[in-house]
């Protein structure tokens, strides 16, 4: 295994809304080429953590380093090159409703790259095909797409600038089991083919066992992170309950079968086999 430097490094993060303390000294580390899952109970501050990493929420204390640069200390102009190296697919897609899917995908390109319009069209269509959307979807408006297609379109837009890092906020929420599985396959495919580092917030245990290398669980306003196979045996009662509850059992069995079928598409040997 090559030595990995942390692509994202969060240290001592503190976030507070009024009197409510959301994060209190949270540490998180994401290495290159891994799929990192952020897990936690509802209201535990997963989205706030993501917003802090993206610079949308200014933390009360702590540092957030992306590729070694502390983004909490950078100006908007200094952040621009960093923002060009990651893509974000928000939970609800956050597609611009007045633009077609093609235009949505082109918007980041227009902001960061100087491209001729035909080249941009080709590039955007490529991204749209890459995420498994039919070609005619490119000319549709977000309102004309199904939930799964909106999420795929959001990923296409997140990939517009060929980022090294992809953030996914609950990518499989609101999808039927078949679509969710197809989505996990897409995540694995993108990770493998584009050598992406993926950070995803998820509640979906099937997704975690199938796609993630490492998992960070937010408990008591801090994060406990480890590989998938080790985190399930963590002594913390919440984490045990999370991964050993009634819902978790089926997911682990399914993931285990998938792995022994040779269906595991992991880039290395760290995929959770749930053993």
């Amino acid at each position: 295994m090559t030595t990995r430097y942390p692509l994202i490094e969060v240290r001592g993060l503190v976030n507070r809304f009024g009197s409510q303390l959301v994060h209190d000294g949270l540490d998180m580390e994401v290495r290159e080429d891994e799929v990192f899952g952020i897990v936690g109970g509802s209201g535990s501050g997963k989205s706030v953590l993501l917003r802090s990493i993206l610079g949308l929420q200014h933390p009360e204390a702590g540092t957030v380093r992306i590729q070694g640069q502390d983004i909490t200390r950078l100006s908007e102009a200094q952040l621009r090159p960093i923002k060009a190296c990651y893509g974000v697919a928000f939970q609800s897609g956050a597609l611009y409703s007045g633009l077609t899917v093609l235009q949505n995908v082109q918007l980041p390109m227009m902001e960061h790259l100087e491209l001729e319009s035909p080249v941009r069209d080709q590039l955007a269509l490529l991204k749209i095909r890459l995420v498994g959307l039919p070609a005619d979807a490119a000319y549709k408006y977000p309102a004309e797409l199904s939930g799964g297609m909106v999420k795929r379109a959001a990923i296409a837009r997140a990939l517009a600038l060929d980022p090294a890092l992809l953030f996914l906020d609950e990518p499989t929420s609101g999808l039927d089991p078949v679509s969710a599985t197809a989505f996990d396959d897409l995540v694995l495919f993108l990770q493998k083919e584009l050598k992406l580092t993926i950070v995803m917030i998820t509640h979906d245990l099937d997704s975690i066992f199938r796609t993630c290398n490492r998992v960070g669980v937010i408990v008591n306003r801090r994060m406990e992170s480890d590989t998938v196979e080790r985190i399930v045996d963590h002594p913390n009662p919440f984490i045990r309950e999370y991964f050993h509850g009634e819902r978790a059992r089926g997911a682990r069995i399914a993931a285990h079968e998938g792995a022994t079928d040779g269906g595991g598409t992991g880039a290395d040997g760290e995929r959770g086999d749930g053993a």
Binding site: L54, G55, V88, S92
Partner: protein, 139 residues
């Protein structure tokens, strides 16, 4: 509005929401409102002409002559000068409240009402200030 994290998506892409959401609206308004003023002026005069012609049976030529006597060109220019100022106020009130919309469609409706009321208030206030200004300038 940010019902579905669209503004966050803009910021995360490195796009300044002010630049792509507020500036175009303000500029559009600054261009459109004076044009609208011209159209409103023309329609108003045409309405007056029709009324005089058919209700008061005043010939059109006489109406135009009287109009030139009654309305100084400054009246037109006063309207054109005020329009872009009102445009900026209305657009900013709308965008300011629009940016505050979070989460629900109900919130959207509420903020629209607030924006309309505040825009009207600001326009009346600005109009009063203009009235004082023009009075001092003796136009």
């Amino acid at each position: 509005m940010q019902l579905n994290e669209e503004v966050d998506a803009l910021v995360a892409t490195g796009v300044d929401p002010f630049e792509v959401l507020v500036v175009p609206r303000v500029l559009g308004f600054v261009i459109a409102l004076p044009l609208l003023t011209v159209i409103a002026d023309l329609v108003g005069l045409a309405g007056g002409a029709l009324l005089c012609r058919y209700l008061l049976e005043m010939p059109l030529t006489q109406y135009i002559n009287r109009m030139n006597e009654a309305i100084a060109p400054t009246t037109f220019w006063v309207g054109i000068i005020k329009a872009p100022v009102f445009a900026v106020l209305i657009a900013l009130a709308g965008c300011y409240r629009g940016m505050q919309v979070r989460g629900s469609a109900r919130e959207l409706g509420h903020k629209v009402t607030v924006a309309v009321v505040q825009a009207i208030f600001l326009v009346i206030l600005a109009d009063a200030l203009f009235a004082i200004l023009f009075l001092k300038m003796d136009v």
